[in-house]
C-alpha cells in the first residue's frame, strides 16, 4: 500500500521545525510502523537527503526508546502498544499519517522525532530506589510479601519510561510516570522505610523539571503501552499528603536535597 506522511522535521533543538510531506510506497501490511519509516529513510538516504531521525532500540515494546505521536495519539491508535509494535495492517492504502515528536517543555526536541527525556531520569535519581548497598541484603525470603502486593507492585513497575504519558497529557504532566515508581515501591515492604522522603523528593523534582500538573483526565493511562493505571496517581497524592501531614519526624536524608 501507499501512504502520505506528514513528518515533523527539525534540524536541532534551537531551530524552527515544520511538517514535511513524504510518500511511503509499497508498504507491506506485515511491517511495523518503524520499519515503514526505515523504508522511507532508505529512499531518502539514496537520494542524498538527511533521513528522518527517530529513536528505537528493542523494537519489541519493552525498552521505551521509541515514541512519536501518530495522527494525534502518542504511539498511535492501538491500545497497549508502542509505536515499534504498531503494525501497518492498522492503516489503509492512501491514508495520510501525521507524525510528530513528543512535545513538552521538559522534553526538548533534539532532532526531528528525537527528544531528550533526561528529566525522567532526574525524577528517579531524586528518590526512585531503596537505599540498599550491595552485599547488605537479607535473604530474599526473609521478608514475606503478599502475592497481591507483589503483583500490584509489578503492575506499576512495568513502566518503560517512554514518556507517552507526558506527550498525551494536555499539561505535559509526568504524574503517571512518577506515580508508577512511587506506587511500585510503596506497595512493597522494602519501600516502606523511605516512602515519605521518596514521594516528596520525587514530586518536587518532577515540578522543577518543568512538567505540568495532573488534571485527572487519564489520557496518560489510555496511551500507556503498559496500561499503568491512574490509581497510581491517586496513590502518589495519598503518599504525598501522608508524608506532609502525618506527624512523624522528617529527617534530612539523602532525598532531602
Amino acid at each position: 500500500m501507499n501512504l502520505h506522511l506528514k513528518v515533523w522535521r527539525q534540524a536541532g533543538p534551537d531551530t524552527q521545525g515544520r511538517l514535511v510531506d513524504y510518500e511511503a510506497q509499497n508498504i507491506h501490511t506485515d511491517m511495523s510502523f518503524l520499519e515503514m519509516l526505515d523504508v522511507v529513510n532508505e529512499d531518502l538516504i539514496k537520494k542524498g537527503e538527511d533521513p528522518i531521525a527517530f529513536d528505537s532500540d528493542c523494537r519489541e515494546g519493552i525498552c521505551g526508546t521509541c515514541g512519536c505521536v501518530v495522527n494525534g495519539v502518542p504511539h498511535g491508535p492501538d491500545r497497549g502498544t508502542t509505536v515499534c509494535q504498531l503494525h501497518m495492517r492498522r492503516f489503509k492504502d492512501g491514508d495520510t499519517i501525521v507524525i510528530e515528536p513528543w512535545r513538552a517543555r521538559a522534553f526538548p526536541i533534539l532532532k526531528d522525532l528525537v527528544v531528550d527525556r533526561t528529566a525522567l531520569d532526574k525524577i528517579i535519581s531524586a528518590g526512585g530506589y531503596t537505599s540498599i548497598n550491595v552485599g547488605a541484603a537479607p535473604d530474599g525470603n526473609a521478608i514475606l510479601v503478599p502475592k497481591e502486593a507483589s503483583d500490584e507492585a509489578m503492575n506499576f513497575a512495568a513502566c518503560i519510561g517512554c514518556g507517552a504519558c507526558v506527550a498525551a497529557c494536555k499539561n505535559a504532566s509526568a504524574a503517571l510516570f512518577t506515580s508508577a515508581k512511587v506506587s511500585h515501591l510503596a506497595l512493597l515492604p522494602q519501600g516502606q522505610v523511605e516512602r515519605d522522603l521518596r514521594v516528596v523528593a520525587m514530586v518536587e523534582t518532577m515540578d522543577a523539571a518543568g512538567f505540568g500538573a495532573c488534571s485527572n483526565e487519564g489520557e496518560c493511562e489510555a496511551v500507556c503501552p503498559k496500561g499503568i493505571k491512574i490509581e497510581g496517581i491517586a496513590r502518589m497524592n495519598r503518599e504525598y499528603l501522608r508524608a506532609s501531614v502525618v506527624p512523624r519526624p522528617m529527617p534530612q536524608g539523602a532525598f532531602a536535597g
Binding site: K6, W8, L19, V69, N71, G72, V73, P74, R79, V98, E100, R103, A104, R105, A106, E152, A168, K170, N171, A172, S173, A175, V200, V203, E204, M206, D207, G210, F211, G212, A213, C214, S215, N216, E217, G218, E219, E221, A222, V223, K229, I230, E231, I233, A234, R235, M236, N237, R238, E239, Y240, L241, A243, S244, V245, V246, P247, R248, M250
Partner: protein
C-alpha cells in the same frame, strides 16, 4: 499540623488544595440547594422568607461564614487559574494534530473546559449575590415583632424575565458540567481512589453533578412557568 509547611505549593499540593476547596464549595451547594427547595413549598414564600431571615439573624456568625466562603471560593479560583497558567507553560509548542486517546480516558467536554465553566460560574455567583442579597426588598412582618425581607417575591419577580431564567439555567448547567469532572477529580487528587474504582468514581461524580444541576435549574423554570 503539617510537618512540611510549604507542601501545598507543589503541583500535587496545589491539586490537593483545589480539591479540598472544591469539595467545601460543593458542600455549600448542597446546603444552598436544600434551603432553596423551600421556594417550592407552595406557601406563598413564607417558609423561604423565614429561612432567609433566620440566616440573617446569625449576624456575625453569618459574616464569618460568608467571609470563609468567599475566601474558599477565591482560593479555589486563584489556585486553579494559576495552575492553569502554569500548565500552559509546560508545552510551549502545540501539536499540529492532537486527538483524544479514547480507551480508558476520562477526558470530556467537562474536563477540557474546567477553567471556562469555573470562571462563568464565578461571574454568575457575583451577579446572583447582587441580585438577591443586595437588591432592596419589600419588608414583611415576621410575626415576632420584627421585619424580614420578602426575598421570595424578589425571586418570583426576577424569574419572570426569560433572559434571567435562561442565564440561570445556563449557569447551573455549566456548574453541573464543572462538577461532573470536578467531583471525581477531587477524590483522585486527594488520593481517594483505588484500583478498579476509577470508572465507578467518575460515573458517580457525573450522576451527582447532574442531579445537583437539575435541582438548581428546576427553581427558575418552575417560577417562570408557574406564575
Amino acid at each position: 499540623m503539617s510537618r512540611r509547611p510549604g507542601f501545598l505549593s507543589s503541583s500535587v499540593g496545589t491539586k490537593i488544595l483545589i480539591a479540598i476547596t472544591g469539595l467545601l464549595l460543593f458542600g455549600f451547594l448542597i446546603g444552598h440547594l436544600v434551603g432553596n427547595l423551600q421556594l417550592l413549598a407552595g406557601d406563598g414564600g413564607k417558609a423561604f422568607n423565614i429561612y432567609a431571615y433566620r440566616l440573617e439573624r446569625l449576624h456575625y456568625l453569618l459574616y464569618a461564614i460568608e467571609l470563609g466562603l468567599i475566601a474558599i471560593f477565591l482560593l479555589h479560583i486563584f489556585k486553579a487559574v494559576s495552575n492553569y497558567l502554569g500548565n500552559q507553560h509546560a508545552r510551549p509548542q502545540a501539536y499540529a494534530v492532537k486527538k483524544p486517546a479514547g480507551h480508558t480516558s476520562q477526558k470530556s467536554l467537562a474536563s477540557t473546559s474546567m477553567i471556562l465553566s469555573g470562571l462563568t460560574v464565578f461571574v454568575f455567583v457575583v451577579l446572583h449575590v447582587r441580585m438577591f442579597k443586595y437588591t432592596p426588598a419589600e419588608m414583611l412582618p415576621t410575626g415576632e415583632g420584627t421585619e424580614m425581607r420578602n426575598v421570595y417575591q424578589l425571586v418570583v419577580d426576577a424569574f419572570q424575565n426569560p433572559w434571567i431564567v435562561g442565564f440561570y439555567v445556563l449557569a447551573v448547567s455549566l456548574l453541573g458540567l464543572h462538577l461532573s469532572h470536578g467531583l471525581a477529580s477531587a477524590m483522585q487528587s486527594l488520593g481517594a481512589n483505588a484500583p478498579g474504582w476509577t470508572t465507578r468514581a467518575w460515573a458517580t461524580g457525573r450522576v451527582i453533578a447532574v442531579v445537583l444541576a437539575a435541582g438548581f435549574a428546576a427553581l427558575p423554570l418552575y417560577m417562570f412557568f408557574a406564575f
